[in-house]
């Protein structure tokens, strides 16, 4: 019935659903036990999770193309949020338009499994093309700032994220347990789990600040607790969803936990530079889309190249 989905992927999606149900029940229970306290943000947050996971699971189950379109749309939302957040130049309107236009191309290369083009299109061609377009327009004031900020955004929101989609088109025969969808699920689930784990460990045991200038609430205890939990879970899940061996899955877990942390604080630095708390208001309880995919901008390319080098 679902030829692109293996049984273990279905089980994993079921597990995610189970976690959401439990989270919703706990939130409802908390609200009943402490009617005086305000759980609006928690409840909004869980509701947003339902919507995000609902759309993601729907796309994964529907077809490979639907899943690729899903990631293309996430890239579009993220790039739009980024461009809406940073200072831009009026003269660059059409440059921004070209940047958006790169999204369908990048995901088309993914869909066509054209690895060579996928891996150079943005870092080479777009990198050279956009400054050319800016020079033709002719506005030199703040040229460097504009070229730099635009390219950083496209690399982060489009190039990095599109690696998650490329998992989908990798040769399924080399990953009989999970196929392409298994690796995507492994990446997304562990990245989001790591965010939550670091937060919970930090709340429960956090004492020593790890990077106070950028993110004052992050602690060493939260970071290390997250690394430990995420790595353990990565090793448990790997045989069911990925082609990774035990020792490789240890590396994958560390990569996701570490990369996720760095992605998170990188977007925090961006927000701190600009002077906003949330990157947007798209996801009630979370903030903007960048607040949700910050970790993924690091973990997606890192895990992809780790797995690609070892097994494809």
């Amino acid at each position: 019935m679902l030829p692109h989905i293996t049984p273990s992927v279905l089980t994993a999606l079921g597990g995610v659903l189970g976690i959401l149900v439990v989270a919703s029940l706990i939130a409802a229970l908390l609200k009943r036990l402490h009617p005086d306290r305000n759980y609006t943000e928690l409840i909004q947050r869980i509701r947003s999770w339902w919507i995000m996971i609902g759309i993601f699971s729907g796309a994964i189950l529907l077809s490979r193309t639907a899943s690729i379109l899903f990631f293309a749309f996430v890239s579009f939302l993220a790039l739009k949020e980024y461009f809406s957040l940073i200072p831009t130049r009026r003269a660059d309107r059409r440059v921004l338009f070209w940047a958006y236009a790169a999204i369908p191309f990048q995901y088309y290369w993914v869909h066509e499994q054209w690895y060579g083009m996928f891996i150079i299109f943005i870092p080479v061609y777009l990198f050279l093309l956009l400054p050319m377009k800016m020079v033709i327009i002719g506005e030199t004031k703040d040229f460097l700032r504009a070229a730099g900020t635009l390219h950083w955004g496209i690399m982060t929101m489009v190039f990095s994220l599109s690696h998650a989609a490329f998992f989908l088109v990798l040769d399924g025969a080399r990953n009989p347990a999970g196929g392409g969808a298994g690796l995507v699920l492994y990446l997304i689930f562990l990245t989001q789990f790591n965010d939550v784990a670091q937060y919970v460990w930090g709340k429960l045991t956090g004492r020593h600040k790890i990077i106070p200038k950028v993110s004052p609430n992050k602690t060493w205890e939260g970071f290390l607790g997250g690394v430990g939990t995420t790595t353990a879970l990565a090793m448990v899940l790997a045989p069911h969803l990925t082609p990774l061996t035990v020792i490789e899955s240890l590396g994958a877990g560390l990569l996701i936990a570490l990369g996720g942390f760095i992605g998170d604080v990188t977007i925090s630095a961006l927000k701190r530079d600009i002077g906003v708390k949330d990157s947007g208001s798209l996801l009630p309880g979370h903030g903007g889309i960048l607040d949700r995919i910050d970790s993924l901008t690091y973990t997606a390319p890192l895990l992809f190249h780790f797995v690609y080098y070892l097994h494809y």
Binding site: S84, P87, T88, R90, R94, F97, I274, G280
Partner: protein
């Protein structure tokens, strides 16, 4: 019917997906008329966005007040403006003093419609607020019971400024203010209105755009 099709199939997907709105104080949107919605004006998208804030079955009651000389300048545009956007054409340069330029607006309010009005008079420079014209004060004076809802829009002038044909997606702010009513004299009414819109503007963060 044609209007609803246009909004459901084209305008709503455009506004919700391509642009994306950051709406504050949604509960202040008037759900029924008569009411006057007043906003700063930077883009043709402004009217479309404001018209998506209400549930679409009420679309027929929304009446953008728009410049007659601009929107009725040729037959195709006039057909679109009158039948799809359902505008109330406003004479901007009145020569004949015996005519009442706001008669159609007052009549619409008496029918329980919601007017959409841009007191700056034109889109002007992108993301700059010009001086407010006092037509709105005359209208409020004649209809002192009708709430005037100030709205601040930001970002649409970046997405589609005056004189540009290419739409570039940006998330846009729609900040809705508390309703104000006619306050016995024109100057104080206009000052209140302007301050309300400026106060709404202060609520948000806006990156530089030059």
């Amino acid at each position: 019917m044609l209007q609803q099709l246009f909004f459901v199939l084209i305008v709503r997907p455009l506004v919700l997906i391509v642009i994306g709105l950051n709406i504050r104080h949604r509960e202040r949107i008037p759900l029924k008329g008569p009411a006057i919605v007043v906003s700063n004006h930077n883009s043709h998208l402004d009217t479309l966005v404001l018209m998506t804030l209400l549930p679409w079955p009420r679309l027929r009651q929304l009446r953008p007040v728009a410049a007659k000389d601009y929107f009725l300048r040729n037959r195709v545009l006039a057909w679109f403006a009158l039948n799809i956007m359902h505008i109330i054409p406003l004479e901007r340069h009145l020569i004949d003093r015996t005519q009442d330029p706001l008669a159609a607006c007052s009549e619409a309010l008496q029918n329980g419609d919601i007017l959409i009005l841009f007191p700056e008079g034109s889109r002007g420079d992108p993301e700059q607020m010009g001086t407010l014209k006092t037509g709105i004060a005359h209208l409020a004076k004649r209809n002192p019971e009708v709430p005037v809802i100030p709205i601040f829009l930001h970002g649409l002038g970046k997405a589609l400024p005056k004189g540009e044909a290419v739409l570039v997606p940006f998330f846009c702010d729609v900040f809705i203010g508390e309703p104000i009513r006619w306050s016995a004299d024109r100057t104080s009414f206009m000052t209140t209105l302007e301050q309300e819109i400026k106060a709404l503007a202060e609520e948000g963060y806006r990156p530089a755009w030059e």
